[in-house]
Symmetry: C2
Subunit: 209 residues, 2 copies
DNA sequence: AGGATTTTTTGATAAATGTCAAAAGATAGG
DNA sequence: CCTATCTTTTGACATTTATCAAAAAATCCT
């Protein structure tokens, strides 16, 4: 469906596909403290689809049914919506080591309301929820990994909801500075504002203080 | 630690503990389409602790380490925080069939920032995350149940974040009316306002239109 | 039922944030 | 290196939401 940018984007050639999968497998066998048999490693390799996307390329558009959950190997992506007035709101940033998807669309198989695109040239590993569940049934490490990941995602979202409903724009800004200083290095202020749910002008004024 | 209100709250006597567990087991063997062996049913019964709490009683206070994940059998609870200015913000409502916990505290075993209390007389089934994981390892139905529940929770929180950062108070109010009309029947406007992240006065004014 | 308590509404005003327009500054690509 | 484009800042003003106080309405308790 999307072009494969391998041939045009030099940076994406830095690591071979083999090295990427290897790093991924090592990462999460460490994470779960399970040994992975050669057999299991092969099953995992076969189940995930490696995808390289360049800056501004889309993984998903509004109205499409989201087919995959994507693990970010490198780079940065965002999930965002655009409302009737043309206003963009960034729901999540996904950096290396994080998962991204339109969770409603991918679970319910309904057309989604979100766009997902790459903020930087990125590499992701994609898998459908059904395949992931089936892997989890066969490979305990994957099963455990999913439980752990879910726990981590739930913590993050609980915090985000808390800050969105209980803090002023200024407090949210300061909290984000503390909790995610990387965001300010990697993303434009327009994007930070959109993530905080405020206008770029407001963010600019908060910063002046 | 907490008093058991069985003897004082008539309403809580409507169902015997046995009936409650039975309904719970049936509910989720239906949900997961797995048959539960007598053995597995017993293991689940033993792992979950039934707790009856009356209106305004706390399941968790700020500063405590949250020990349990609670499945709401009947009634309604809320998770909320109180900031420096004494301002209450409701992070989630949990009705029958939903799970409630301070996810950060319970997963990281750190003192939490939230209160959890009962809005109505309620019955919950409690289990520690460690025990739940260990059950999941032994009982496929539980394992599958957790994966499904996590999926559902992720959908809900994604929606909540979206509405919190991309909508005005008025839009959030109308959305909540559509998505959760039960809330308006069961909870005071003070609580609805706190859930929407606005003042009760503002909610009252939105309603007038 | 009746008084106490809590919740909801209303009004006047203040504070926070948004809107629109334009300038200044930064960045990307030829 | 220069121009076109995009991002950030600033200003004037509009709108939304909060704050504080008090009245009205609903609910709780005995």
């Amino acid at each position: 469906m999307n072009l494969n940018y391998d041939t045009t984007v030099g940076k994406l050639r830095e690591h071979s596909d083999h090295e990427i999968f290897d790093a991924f497998l090592t990462y999460f066998s460490d994470y779960t403290k399970h040994q992975l048999s050669t057999d299991h490693r092969k099953m995992i390799r076969d189940a995930f689809k490696l995808k390289k996307i360049s800056k501004r390329q889309f993984l998903l558009r509004e109205g499409e049914v989201c087919k995959y959950i994507s693990y970010v190997v490198s780079g940065a992506l965002r999930t965002y919506s655009i409302n009737e007035r043309g206003q963009e709101s960034i729901i999540v940033f996904a950096l290396e080591g994080e998962w991204v998807s339109d969770w409603e669309s991918v679970n319910l198989k309904t057309p989604g309301n979100y766009y997902i695109d790459a903020i930087e040239d990125s590499v992701v590993l994609q898998i459908s929820p059904a395949e992931l569940l089936s892997l989890a049934e066969k490979i305990p490490a994957i099963d455990q990994f999913m439980h752990l990941e879910h726990g981590a995602i739930t913590i993050t979202t609980q915090k985000r909801i808390h800050s969105a409903i209980s803090m002023s724009a200024e407090e949210r800004y300061h909290e984000l500075l503390k909790s995610h200083p990387q965001y300010f290095r990697r993303f434009s202020q327009n994007m930070i504002a959109s993530y905080l749910g405020i206008k770029p002008e407001t963010l600019s004024r908060l910063r002046r203080r």
